[in-house]
Symmetry: C2
Subunit: 561 residues, 2 copies
């Protein structure tokens, strides 16, 4: 940093927010630092319009950003709502990696020497600047991921900022867990033996962040900011379909680094054209020592098996289960499940897929409901939620890509269609592809179908012999194929206890009897752990000690004194 006074000022400016975040991660109760409502009462009456204008101003031109080692540019993003974005980014290919990674490492010594407090404050400043552009970011997330605007604002903006701050708090806590120096006095027969010891946090090397199409910020920021705060340069390799939100992120980070006297290349954007395989080339580079990845099982497992010079934090896919046993609020249950299936067209790693229900049905406040009646209840709830197109699109958003549509189109032949999917016409974006969820009927023997993730708006109602069999099947599929979430509905304390035990065995976060405004897909920063690392769906959790501790090392020196 240019001056000690400026450093102290920056640290001091962000001190209270950091302290609040530190308190929150110790309590894991409710905390949020970034308001989730896009209301003018919160953000001011001009914020929305200015954000829209700023976003519009980015379209159809080169994005103002430099990347070391880049050659030419790439512009491939198409909004799931229809339009081409036409934003061109510096294009990185394998030929440019020496230069890119050399540049990334150049400022590492100075960044290391800045120490944990200043590094975290610089990262907090980046978050503050991103927050100031939250409407612009929300449009960028909407028009890359296909999330509806309010969801993009919340999940892609405010909640992502909270997750990033949470990661910073864990990083700070871990880096300052030991004192910067200690006096060691060993008693002996005569004078004690005295040594002064110095402990310094040093980075691991370059952190690679591989972004995903559906949650470009929410899933990338925790790893990005955790790595950066721990002293590591970060190369961000966005999904070719969702570059803009991360380009904005990198732009802001580089500006703050420059202003605070650090090397801008500590954070860089490595954009590629679809299918060029840049992430794999980057992940095997010896300079890369940390990889944060969200995406397919295939590439996640490839990273775990091949990028052995790095610590890999991978969030992959899973098959999320709902176990229905009984409920005292059948309507609430159906409404809650319907929303979980519909939210962002089920394109969430946390969305439920397999709803296990006993053949004999479940006891409810409306009497016993047999599987087909449960399906009808969910269908009716979906109709209520999505019957009006204008309202429906605000829940569903748009289909992110062709693969989701193909899977949806191919799904009906795999089971009995209990609730059909329908196409919705978006009132504002006629080219947007909008679909409602499909619910297919299967039985417990169809595990070759329901044990695979069908990412998108496809859910299975799977009949079983009993709740016990439902729980067993949930555990087996989670351990074999991964799961990010699980949900149970029961009025029986014994069943709830069994479900909790099953969730511990399966290594999956469990939600019980959600009938109100909380949904199994949602994971609240500072309180819910997103993913566990305890089953194949993920190797890490947002955010805990294991997510940050391997991102740095402690190097000591000692001398007599």
């Amino acid at each position: 940093m240019t001056s000690t006074a400026a450093s102290a000022d920056l640290i001091s400016r962000h001190h209270d927010a950091l302290e609040q975040a530190l308190a929150a991660i110790r309590k894991r109760s409710y905390f949020s630092a970034f308001p989730e409502s896009p209301s003018p009462r919160v953000y001011g009456e001009h914020a929305a319009g200015e954000g829209q204008a700023a976003f519009d101003g980015l379209l159809g031109r080169p994005f103002p950003l430099e990347t070391a080692g880049a050659d030419g540019s790439v512009a491939q993003e198409r909004s799931p709502y229809g339009p081409e974005l036409g934003v061109a980014y510096p294009r990185v290919t394998t030929d440019g990696l020496d230069e890119l990674l050399g540049a990334a490492r150049r400022g590492m010594g100075q960044w290391r020497d800045a120490g944990p407090a200043l590094r975290v404050a610089v990262c907090q400043e980046v978050l503050a600047r991103l927050h100031a552009r939250i409407f612009e970011l929300a449009h960028a997330v909407q028009h890359t991921s296909g999330q509806a605007f309010v969801m993009a604002f919340q999940a892609g903006g405010a909640h992502a900022l909270d997750r990033a701050l949470e990661a910073l708090a864990y990083a700070y806590d871990e880096m300052t867990r030991h004192p910067a120096s200690a006096l060691w006095e060993k008693p002996g027969r005569g004078e004690p033996v005295r040594m002064e010891k110095t402990f310094t946090v040093v980075p691991r090397g370059v952190g690679l962040v591989v972004g995903c199409h559906t949650f470009p910020t929410w899933n990338s920021w925790p790893g990005l900011f955790a790595s950066l705060a721990c002293g590591n340069p970060v190369v961000v390799k966005p999904h070719p379909g969702a570059v803009l939100p991360l380009a904005l992120t990198v732009q802001v980070a580089r500006a703050v680094l420059t202003e605070t006297g650090f090397d801008a290349d500590l954070v860089s954007l490595a954009a590629e054209a679809e299918g060029e395989g840049l992430a794999a080339d980057l992940a095997l580079r010896p300079e890369v020592r940390l990889v944060d990845f969200t995406g397919s099982n295939a590439f996640g497992e490839w990273l775990e098996q091949h990028a052995t010079q790095a610590v890999v934090f991978a969030e992959k896919a899973g098959v999320n289960a709902v176990v229905l046993d009984s409920t005292d609020d059948f309507a609430g249950m159906c409404a809650n499940l319907a929303f979980s299936f519909a939210l962002y067209t089920g394109q969430m790693c946390t969305a439920p897929q397999n709803v296990f229900v006993p053949d004999a049905g479940i006891t409810t406040d409306q009497g016993v409901k047999r599987p087909e009646e449960v399906a009808a209840g969910i269908g009716a709830a979906l109709d209520r939620l999505l019957g009006d197109d204008a309202r429906a699109v605000e829940v569903l958003g748009a289909v992110v890509g062709d693969a989701v549509l193909s899977r949806l189109d191919a799904a009906p032949e795999r089971g009995r269609v209990l609730v059909a999917s329908r196409a919705v016409t978006h009132p504002s974006w006629p080219d947007a592809r909008v679909r409602t969820p499909l619910l297919l009927g299967l039985s417990v023997g169809d595990d070759q179908i329901y044990a695979a993730e069908c990412f998108g708006p496809v859910a299975y109602l799977v009949t079983t012999g009993s709740t016990a069999e439902s729980l067993q099947t949930f555990v087996r599929t989670a351990l074999d194929f991964g799961a990010m979430t699980a949900s149970v509905y029961s009025t029986d304390p014994g069943v709830l206890s069994d479900a909790r035990a099953a969730a511990l065995d399966a290594g999956v976060a469990l939600s019980e009897n959600l009938t109100g405004p909380v949904f199994v897909n949602q994971s609240a920063a500072f309180s819910d752990f997103h993913g566990t690392g305890a089953n194949p769906a993920a190797t890490a959790s947002f955010t805990d000690g294991a997510f940050v501790a391997p991102r740095f090392r402690t190097v000591q020196s000692r001398r007599h004194c």
Copy 2:
């Protein structure tokens, strides 16, 4: 545990010791819970004799221990001091791994459900029982590793117990970092949305501990106890030449587990005959999710590349550097270095190997000392330390194996012999192979020689153009080939500052101007971090957050309330 009262009692009995250890890891100042002096004034007048008798009673017979899946027995240990130990252990081969790992996992659910506090207390009880057998253990360490008795008592007994307790403290701290439950209240327009959340620590899976020949306890216990405390069953695969100390460990652990109502197979010994490759077979098993390894670079790197289903904590080899620039205590420096070379015949991963000295010599309190004068000073110090055979063997111990002798015998032809190695006759153990250190002269261009580790009593005095070149060479060799320790001697604050910066770049712990009773090879539990994970010599440090955090996961459940 058989009763809640007994659990509470066990936790309460070890509470103060845990609190002290927790305070110590936060301060990293001096702390020790296990007295390092084998004096009768500390341990009582009968302890030494009883320990000797207990050790003698183990020899020449089957070791009283069962291992699930074992078939027959194996007895291959030969003391570096001469005698065959003749202790037979259950022999595990690949055919028995299904049964072994099945048995290991059987008690995992109950062990998980016991919770962090009880698991840590059970582990502390194991340490207390091992401490009660410290003399017996010291003999076992002496007659497998070749360490002299007092060193075996200290490094293999008291200090190893301290390191194990340190690992337990970190594990406890990490597991209890989050509350067991939290109330989440999200403010809204009407009533707040309330959820009760439960957070449970769950194990990763089976922990595999692969022991080494030279430090069977000190290097194995931190990983063993960290994994076990975090809820993981542990399979201990000892070095075929150093089984007994770990067999005692496993025996004690199993007894305590049984007494406290847990499954004994949560800890098991997997002994094999030399060269059977059991560690590799175990490390690739899907049940194994944690591997703690100390040993060769070749196998450590193989583990990192192939055991990708597990987190690998590997301590391998490195080339440790000493940079000589100037000193105000030439005699003290030479004496300190001589001891570091001689201690346990240099068979320590922390022993210095490459002593870099400028061609022009170094400024000292005895005038400028040219490289050959430095060598002569070290030679004279070695003579003083090792001139008397009876005293010498208490420093040197015995050569652990043939490979060390072969390397020593082959070394002289690689450089100029500055100080020759000599064979020492052990006054009590005529068959012990005891050697003094060899000091060879090289120049900075001989990096094909000094950049490789020559494990054992071989050090190189490497002449360079300047201290700056010495520091550069130290950094390069550490980053390319690893280093566990580094040492610098200088009276110039600028050089010391450069050395600290170099050590940060190299990711190596630095000792400055050691001329007294502290040696670069020594790493004090609760204060010094052993290894850094920041260079190829190791992927982890004893002990910090990164050493424990990946050993468990947190699984949550949540419900409205």
